[in-house]
Symmetry: none
Subunit: 195 residues, 4 copies
């Protein structure tokens, strides 16, 4: 089982990126000022501009790093099976464990819509998260495990269900760890889409 925890930020660059991620999640990109990031990271204005070209570049590098780490987890945990049912369970488990262990990371994944950073206006979920689901469906259909419904609908059900529960937990709407819900959720999804 992959270690999902983040290594504690030791160097200046990582301290800045980590502080920026938390602030972007808590306050949003625009309301977060460079001095905010400086204060939260215990560094200096000069250090920020030494490591990044500016606020936008900092956001872009943060975004790429988060995506890369997320896709790494997905590759290691989800897309290595050739079976749709176990992949759905693995994807659910990955997302729920991440939510419990790294809530800021997940909140960033769910909500960051960095217009200044990427030309479109999509969250990581709408873009990379969807690729994961599409791949699972492709495998499942090829294996004859999954009903022959519209792909948009299947995608929406799988990723929507998982992300929505993560969202409710990250927003503190619902209490309690999600770990116990991995099996119930995976089973419910499977009820809907299995042959």
């Amino acid at each position: 089982m992959t270690d999902l925890t983040a290594s504690p930020a030791i160097n200046v660059r990582d301290r800045i990126l980590d502080a920026a991620m938390r602030l972007f999640v808590d306050k949003g990109y625009h309301p977060t000022t460079i001095p905010d990031i400086v204060k939260a990271s215990g560094t200096s204005i000069g250090a920020v501009y030494h490591h990044f070209e500016g606020k936008e570049d900092l956001a872009r590098q943060l975004h790429q790093q988060v995506i890369a780490e997320f896709m790494g987890f997905v590759g290691a945990e989800v897309l290595n099976g050739s079976n749709a049912e176990t992949s759905i369970r693995a994807y659910t488990e990955l997302m729920f464990r991440l939510t419990e262990e790294r809530p800021y990371f997940v909140s960033y994944l769910l909500h960051a819509r960095p217009r200044a950073v990427v030309d479109d206006n999509l969250t990581v979920c709408s873009r990379e998260g969807l690729e994961v689901t599409s791949e699972i469906i492709r495998i499942g259909k090829a294996n004859g495990e999954i009903i022959d419904a519209d792909e948009r609908v299947l995608c929406g059900l799988i990723s929507g269900t998982i992300m929505r529960i993560v969202d409710m937990r990250a927003d503190h709407i619902v209490p309690g760890s999600l770990i116990a819900l991995v099996d119930p959720v995976a089973e419910l999804i499977w009820r809907a889409i299995r042959i």
Copy 2:
């Protein structure tokens, strides 16, 4: 069937609110400037400050108006049936029709997280959208139509599936009208949760 279309903004206040909604969706709250709103609404700075106390108050009033209108639709279309299956179909249809007829309204519902406006940091969907789903589940369980699973999970599946498909369409990830998907989606959800 309720008329979901917005009446064309005729007075200054509504023209400002309408322009603000579109700009908040397209650019986000912070990057939208008062001059942007003035230009888009064909009014004047003074008019904005005559009708609203400031940008924040404008956002707050917009938020309340959108919520009120949405809850009005929900009350008229969804929460008047005593049957979970038809309520789910009605909810799906409402959201899909709104997406086609008033895409900005729906994008606002899905993504506006106005920290400055409400003390928490939730989208309309996370809050009001959840109430709708909870109510449907309550009815369905009382009627013995729905399996006895964790409420968070059922909620997540129903609202997550619907919202996710709306989201993909609003983000132009998937092309084509959602109207044809009302029945397939409602049926898929129903496969998952029916006794």
Copy 3:
């Protein structure tokens, strides 16, 4: 003895002028807004612009009215005697009675430096108040009642002493009515300047 009390403002123009005087004294000219004056006078924006050309014109007319009323009191109470000692007593009494009966009127006299209204930057006291004192000194010297000192010095002592005590009372630095101090003050001034 002249009646120093202001007749209650009955018509719109006077209500506006009276409200403006109080607000100019309490908040200052610039921080006082037209809506402030409208609220305090119970009139309307339109009424203000009907009776005055604008804020500056309102201030100018107020200034002229205050000066005219003050000079009327001075003419009736102070400058009708041919004797310096009684004139000084009369001037002292006039200022002290005004301070008790119309504190806003006196505060306006003492502190209003309406740069926008008159081209120089003097209070009514520095201009009109000084003319009064100069005239008293002229009479006193002609009568041989007053020592032959520098006129600036004599002026400063007479008007400075009176105005300073009024000032302290108007600013609420010292408590208690000034009426009982009329004789002591006039006598002290006289000790300094009599032959």
Copy 4:
């Protein structure tokens, strides 16, 4: 004899404070804009906001600095004698020399009524100037040098006379240096209040 001249403002903060003092005296607090201060001080908007929290804070710090410097002069020149007659002469000389050497400093002392800056609405003179005079009177009465009159009246005569002559000079109503008037003024005041 204390050096009353101001050292030329060398650092940015002092250049800003000095420019602000002159502008507040010449135009008043409200009509003075931040760009005015920037232009007059040869600095930048950013520099103003780097050194002060805002226009109000700038005014507050200026006020405190002027008071502190004034009270320093008073302590060194006036309140070190144990004799009322010489203290009055010293106070007169201090004020008249300041008027000649630092007219803006004195105009600020006399007229700045910074409502936004101190909770009451008094000039430095009404407050700190009064303490000086009260102390002189206390000494004089203890020594049996001064007549037993109402303290408000004695205060008013001493500080009123001095301030008024300074005022007339600062307002350019009277021409010519005040230095030659130190003895005549001190003697006239003394005639009024000595036993």
